[in-house]
Amino acid sequence: MVQAAVQSANSVDQGDDRPWVGRSIERVEDAALLSGGGRFIDDLGVAPGTLHATILRSPHAHADILSIDIEAAKRLPGVTAVLTGEAVKAVTTTLVVGVKAPVECWPIAMDRVRYVGEPVAVVVATDRARAEDAAELINVEYRPRGAVVDPLGALVSGAPVLHDGFPGNLASERAFRYGDPEKAFADAPHRFSIDIRYPRNSCTPIETYGVVASHDAGEDAYEVLANFQGPFSIHTVIARALKVPGNRLRLRTPPDSGGSFGVKQGVFPYIVLIAAAARVTGRPVKWIEDRLEHLTASVSATNRATTLSAAVAADGKILALDWDQVEDCGAHLRAPEPATLYRMHGNMTGAYDIRHVKIRNRVVVTNKTPTGLNRGFGGPQVYFALERLVQRIAISLKLDPLDVIKRNLIDAGAFPYRTATGALLDSGNYQEAVARAAAQGRLAELKARRDEARAQGRLYGIGFTAVVEPSVSNMGYITTVLTAAERRKAGPKNGAQATATVGLDPVGSVTVHVASVPQGQGHRTVLSQVVADVFGLQPKDIRVNTEIDTAKDAWSIASGNYASRFAAAVAGTAKLAAERVAGRLARIAASQLNVEAADVVFARGFVASKHNPENRIAFSRVAALSHWSPGSLPDDAGQTIRETVFWTPPELTPPDEDDRINSSLCHGFIFDFCGVEIDRVTLETRIDRYVTMHDCGTILHPGMVNGQIRGGFAQALGAALYEEYAYAEDGSFLTGTLADYLLPTTTEVPEPEIFHMETPSPFTPLGAKGVGEGNCMSTPVCLANAVADALGVADITLPLVPARLAELVRGAEPPAPAGGATAAPAREGDRQLRGEGQASVKGAPEQVWAMLLDPNTLQSVIPGCQRVDKVTDTHFRADVTLGIGPVSGRYRADVELFDLDPPRAVTLRGGATGALGFGNAEGRITLAPDGNGGTKLTYNYDAAIGGKVASIGGRLLDGATRVIIGQFFTALARRAGGGGAEGGGLSLFALLAKVASLFGGRR
């Protein structure tokens, strides 16, 4: 499949007058990136004396902080400061919350933690390693609370409540009604419903967050460099939290950013945190997030529980929709949430002509990482429900799923089309796109493949999806969460200001600046094409800068890279700016060439007369004139040194009195279909063919458009088949490494067959629409529909991992037969460690018993034990250092002995805490003479763990436990004078002091 045409047009014919826009020219960004010359945030130097921060994070999903002892950490050489919530509170104020409620939202825990990974302390030191050393010395005492991780569970009466200001964990509830849905449902012959649980996932850029902050005490001004991606409405949130006006928060971005996909919007609480640390220390402070931090606590897409019902006519025509959405925003409602829920509000009818809609939206908080921007932003959740329901309607009415899609598509003659909920769909021809895709993607042949596969007894299915892809968000859509009365009080919010600056320097070379903050999309290249076309130059003549500096550059709240706004809004605004300059240059040139300005044309590096091309002047000469000889410019020309254009589309109006909102400016169309085969034995899903048809308006750079489609497809494939931010019931985070959170690689991602249609948008300067997010909306449900078709099942939950499909196909796994060696079967998400084993030690039971209860012996035989203190005869405290896989750390264990039956048996129960996690365990050890003067020890244990150790993967725990137990018995035997462990496993005191402490479990 690699032969697909992705090659660039690298041969440039100088005499070619075709426009540059629309060509796949090579990217100006690439030479540096390919030779190690990228300038990502951690590649840039910092000021001498810059300090480095590390963040101590909560191992608990929900707990009160009883005390934080930072003294030992502060005493460590190289440590400059340790900031707890109190210290941060002294110099900042709470982050704005997106709904009206008496809640606070801090970037660091104040007196309570609400998710695993929530910052608890910031350590600032001369280097990162020392800061991390110090963080391990901080002793935090927690009192755990009950945790809730399920959005519907959070609403149940009696569920643990996260914030008093959100009674019953409900942060927002609104009901909407468009048309007459009650009547439509009452009159319709059919009603179909679907319940969906959309999981948590993230696009996980390979570069993590980074922040460098400093504070000028004299002017009380902050300067921050961060790989933030926008929207710059967040600048106001940061400045407010830092208690400075906007002009005292200078926010800059580095030249390169290693992917974002929305995720780097979520760096903003850390900007506040690190800026606070800079203020407290009076020094620049740098922080680079690590991967565990990123997976655990950066930001996540929302998970959502949806019930969607449709009133349907006999022919499959959908007459009305009834949405009930419960959005899970995690532990805090961080700006701009609950935007994920409202981004799609104008598009709740998808690509379909449905006039009656009812919506109930609830936003809940749970003990999970706060949510934020993620590619697709609300689209995957909505379309998964809608397009699964369309398939269900077809199956129930015994209709072809594609026929049901076609019956409901908005008519080609209806554009611009106002949806029931308020979106103004700009342009399209959905029927034509579907027809072309079916033909070019060889749908008939795919169906024959399915028939053939099924005839051979194979599991093969076909899925379809039709999706409207919104782009260029209305900055006012989020206010739909407020009632009309609340909106009147708050003042109107709408529009989406894009900015672009075109400058000409004294030798007439052209510079372009935009506030689009790319993370690899190639904005600099496309802008050079757009502006080169206006000036009759070549892209290499145009130098584009996409860094942003809020102290110097033109920007607004809509600046940044999100909602697929670049091609539609930013590139178009650059065109307008260049055209404004060109208009003035034309007047200047006209006076020099003695022609009318209307007769002036820009081509091949010259400004010339259309009628007499020989009458011309070099572009650079005209362009430089404003610098060298302003006096010789025609009076009406004005300067041509620099022009900044601000552009906001008039179509982006605020929500109306009836809550109709044009939530986005542009609406592309996607029609996907795919064939998948599921292996009968492994239940692995293999994509046989994936066809994706896009109409994103005018295509500016085909190679980049296909790059966006492929990249989105690969991420969506991950979301459909592999990826989930998994939590245990107690809120422990279970996928803290890339070996647990599985991302698709070269061997999992097939090449989709991409087709295009171009229906220009009438609302954008270049006719372009966004294209970056569509497959994240269409592909997960398209694959799910295909899998449902293959398996003949009604309910599908993502990700489609084989274990989940096995349950669908074969039912739940039966319990293991009785009498097995190890204890109860593990449940999904169960972090219980259970085991049993035995060991032989020389010496009579009485002798071994005495050793096991002697602190000095224990200290010498417990691996990594620093000290054991005897509190009472049956109560011990121990400090141990233990390594599990790559993560080693110190733990404080507290163990008590029960049911003593000397020298035959004892039960140990205890818990342990450390920077890497916490745990509780219980074990019973029995001692018996082995007949040779020695002792046979038999033990069983039951332990559970939480915190960082849980996140890095249960994969490692069993093995590590066995190694540690083995070390314990070997040392015990050596101490007793010979013998050793049989097998391995956890044991008594080892379990206790060391392991137990570490892994521990039940409360």
């Binding site: 390919l34 390979i206 790059g707 070269t746």
Partner: protein, 172 residues
């Protein structure tokens, strides 16, 4: 084996892209951090620090190596090659790099250095890899931007080009 004091800095010397390089490192310092922050060779990137993403891949004594899973001290006396050593000169790209640019095989470019190193190493020994072999080789790298196909295409195209230029050389 030499035992290094944990709390002291030790001199580390190796050859980096054909030139001698030297710096000081605590025993616990990772090779990736040493390259980036001590030597300023920031082309090698760090994406996960647990060996899965492949962004930090370099060549040490002819072996592909995750520099995030290697201590700087381990590289003492070794011969290292990083992305900074791929281009024939500062203003020219090598065959593989050109193929990446032509095929839009990168977007943000953060993972690219590791992928280039794996391919450069592999293509030197395998002049005519199949698509399946190339996909298998690169399964140890994660790219979140491209969807991989352009990378595979660039690799195959570079392989063909390198093979034909080798043939021309040997024919001549």
């Amino acid at each position: 084996m030499t035992r290094l004091k944990a709390d002291a800095r030790h001199s580390v010397r190796f050859t980096l892209n054909g030139r001698p390089a030297e710096g000081e490192a605590e025993p616990r310092m990772l090779l990736s951090d040493f390259l980036r922050h001590q030597l300023g060779a920031t082309g090698t990137h760090v994406g996960c620090e647990h060996g899965v993403c492949g962004a930090c891949t370099i060549v040490v004594d002819g072996m592909l190596t995750r520099s995030c899973l290697t201590l700087a001290a381990q590289a003492d006396g070794c011969d290292l090659k990083t992305v900074e050593g791929l281009a024939p000169s500062a203003d020219r790209l090598g065959v593989l790099q050109q193929a990446f640019r032509r095929n839009h095989a990168l977007q943000c470019g953060f993972c690219t250095a590791g992928i280039l190193m794996s391919l450069d190493h592999y293509l030197a020994k395998n002049s005519a890899p199949t698509e399946a072999e190339t996909r298998d080789l690169l399964s140890g790298h994660i790219c979140r931007c491209t969807g991989y196909t352009p990378i595979i295409q660039a690799a195959l195209e570079a392989a063909a080009k390198l093979a034909s230029s080798k043939k021309e050389t040997s024919d001549a």
